[in-house]
């Protein structure tokens, strides 16, 4: 018998600290598979954020740097500018990338930094126990929107791919999901492309992965995938928002 599926060699043996059913684990694996299949583990440097994935530095076999909250794209800029021959990626959640780190995100994008950003959008702050995120949906109940997100008070969610796709510096922006196996396969393709773009010196590439947080959503892992499909995907439509080299400027 041949092995048709096993854990990629580019993940360490460390056991993931994520809650049961948390899709961070799937996304970690997809990133690791991209690094493995492109043969770039030895020249890749990852940047871990602050949030649930803060300890991503323990899980990838490539070199890793842990950044201050929201500053991962600035840290990645420094890493890449210092050693342009290396492949640099950030792995960031919604609070990190689209709230406290909005400036670093937008400006690394508009500078066209030749880096890869993996953006995990699960509409909540997971690590701190389920507060409103910049991507929390209108009406969504969180610890800090206990009556549902009231847009007259808390404003509206940020659609990151749509926003970044307007910037000239961006090469590639795609939103994917990991709620089904076909969507996971598609996410794998997008993540690999985002790394390949960097190898090809095409510039700033971001893959937004619509993800779940069963614990803080108060759902079972299976229910959480259903909630993602019913609530998040209508607000955050999947697809390619920008692919400059392919002549696709906006969706």
């Amino acid at each position: 018998m041949a092995t048709v599926f096993q854990k990629p060699s580019t993940l360490t043996d460390a056991k993931l600290h994520y809650c049961p059913g948390c899709t961070h684990g799937i996304i970690h694996r997809l990133v690791a598979e991209a690094i493995e299949s492109l043969g770039i583990d030895g020249i890749t440097v990852g940047v871990a954020p602050v949030g649930c994935s803060v300890m991503a530095y323990d899980y990838f076999t490539c070199d890793m740097v842990q950044a201050p909250h929201g500053r991962a794209p600035a840290v990645a800029t420094g890493l890449k500018r210092a050693r342009p021959e290396n492949i640099v990626f950030t792995y960031q959640g919604d609070g990190d990338l689209a709230a406290i780190g909005t400036a670093e995100t937008v400006h690394s994008a508009t500078r066209g930094e030749n880096i890869t950003i993996i953006f995990v959008n699960n509409a909540i702050y997971g690590m701190t126990g389920g507060q409103m995120a910049p991507t929390t949906l209108p009406g969504q109940v969180t610890q800090t929107t206990p009556y549902g997100r009231d847009t007259s008070i808390a404003g509206f969610p940020v659609r990151v791919c749509e926003m970044l796709s307007t910037l000239d510096g961006v090469e590639y922006a795609e939103r994917v999901s990991v709620d089904t196996v076909p969507n996971i396969n598609n996410a794998a393709r997008a993540i690999k492309k985002a790394f390949q773009n960097q190898i090809d010196k095409k510039g700033f590439s971001i893959v937004e992965v619509v993800s779940t947080c069963p614990t803080n959503w108060g759902l079972t892992p299976v229910e959480a995938l259903g909630w993602l499909r019913e609530n998040m995907l209508p607000y955050y439509p999947l697809g390619v928002y920008k692919d400059r080299s392919a002549g696709k400027e906006t969706k």
């Binding site: 740097v65 842990q66 950044a67 500053r71 600035a74 890493l79 500018r81 670093e104 400006h107």
Partner: protein, 350 residues
């Protein structure tokens, strides 16, 4: 024979940094340090280096964190309000044991304050450049020549001890022009086996990190860092003494203020008052023992600063219970030699 060039302090700092092997500079405009960025923007492309203007001081210091993680010699510069923004990144850099150089060309504060010279950020530089238990190496040059020399030391000691170093000057030193001879000194750039520069399949992965969730681990690492600080306190203290041997009145001042105090000391001597100046060059590590020794037989001690009195705390700690007087101007006002002389004369009459 090396050439003597007339230069602004800020430009001398920038040129010296390039000569010291810095090829990655991340900046953000703020008065009165802007000439550093402008000089870097002009010169870096000509030496194969990078000047990158960040979107904020916050981003600039984090770009420094990234470049330092990659193992290159890197630097940023700012002025007081901008340093406040950088303190987050500086804390992470210290907590990750990364070397870099940060330049602070101080201006008046608090808040937006003013754009004239100040020394009101002594506490920030030496006691609280961010959260947590850590120190920076803090160098306080007082001439343009010393600004240039200090850059080499700052990079080398930052790398030796794997910690950030600050060159702590002010708008007067940054803006003034003086002749400078650049040290003919090859930069000693050390190997960095800890860097996150890609393992190339040759080693296990390097992790640059400041997070330690087990308190025992964090305490152990902080204690290790403080053992390094103890070595620094023993070996890296720098100061300059002027006419302190027989002084009845010991003055303590640093940076631009020390130049003014030196003039006042010369004037006091001409009037028969035995004044002397001890000028700390490193503010951390602080020359406590040297100050205690210089103050052993003096009748009075006067600390002069462009602030409401910040370094004076450390002088008082150094001399253990002796009276230390203070004279300062703040808000961007530079004390005059006559004002300092008047203080010396008053102490002499006491």
């Amino acid at each position: 024979m090396a050439e003597r060039i007339l230069m602004k302090g800020n430009e001398a700092l920038a040129e010296a940094a390039i000569r010291a092997g810095c090829r990655h500079f991340f900046g953000y405009p703020i008065t009165p340090q802007t000439e550093i960025s402008a000089y870097m923007a002009k010169k870096m492309p000509k030496v194969g280096g990078l000047y990158l203007q960040a979107e904020s001081e916050v981003a600039a210091i984090n770009m420094v964190l990234g470049a330092a993680s990659a193992g290159v010699r890197t630097m940023t510069s700012s002025s007081s309000p901008g340093i406040s923004l950088k303190t987050e990144g500086i804390s992470y850099i210290a907590g990750s044991d990364l070397p870099c150089v940060i330049i602070d060309i101080q201006r008046g504060g608090p808040g937006l304050g003013g754009i004239q010279p100040s020394q009101a950020d002594y506490w920030q530089a030496t006691k609280a450049t961010g959260h947590g238990d850590f120190q920076l190496l803090v160098f306080a040059p007082s001439t343009v020549q010393e600004m240039a020399n200090t850059v080499f030391d700052a990079f080398e000691l930052a790398e030796k001890y794997r910690m950030p170093a600050m060159i702590f000057a002010d708008g007067m030193l940054g803006q003034m022009m003086e002749p400078v001879t650049f040290p003919e000194r090859e930069p000693e750039i050390s190997e960095k086996p800890w860097a996150a520069d890609g393992h190339k399949g040759q080693r296990t992965h390097n992790i640059i990190n400041s997070l330690y969730l087990q308190p025992q681990d964090l305490e152990r690492l902080v204690r290790e860092r403080f053992e390094r600080y103890d070595v620094i306190k023993k070996t890296e203290v720098r100061y300059d003494e002027f006419m302190t041997e027989d002084a009845d009145i010991l003055l303590v001042a640093y940076g631009a203020t020390a130049r003014i105090v030196k003039s006042a000391v010369v004037e006091a001597r001409s009037k028969g008052i035995k004044a002397g100046l001890l000028r700390p060059i490193t503010l951390w590590p602080f020359p406590s023992e040297a100050i205690a020794a210089a103050a052993a037989n003096t009748k009075a001690i006067l600390c002069v600063e462009m602030s409401m009195g910040q370094m004076v705390d450390d002088v008082r700690l150094a001399v253990g219970g002796k009276q230390v007087d203070f004279f300062g101007r703040t808000g961007g006002i530079i004390p005059t030699p006559a004002e300092v002389l008047a203080q010396i004369e008053e102490l002499a009459r006491r």
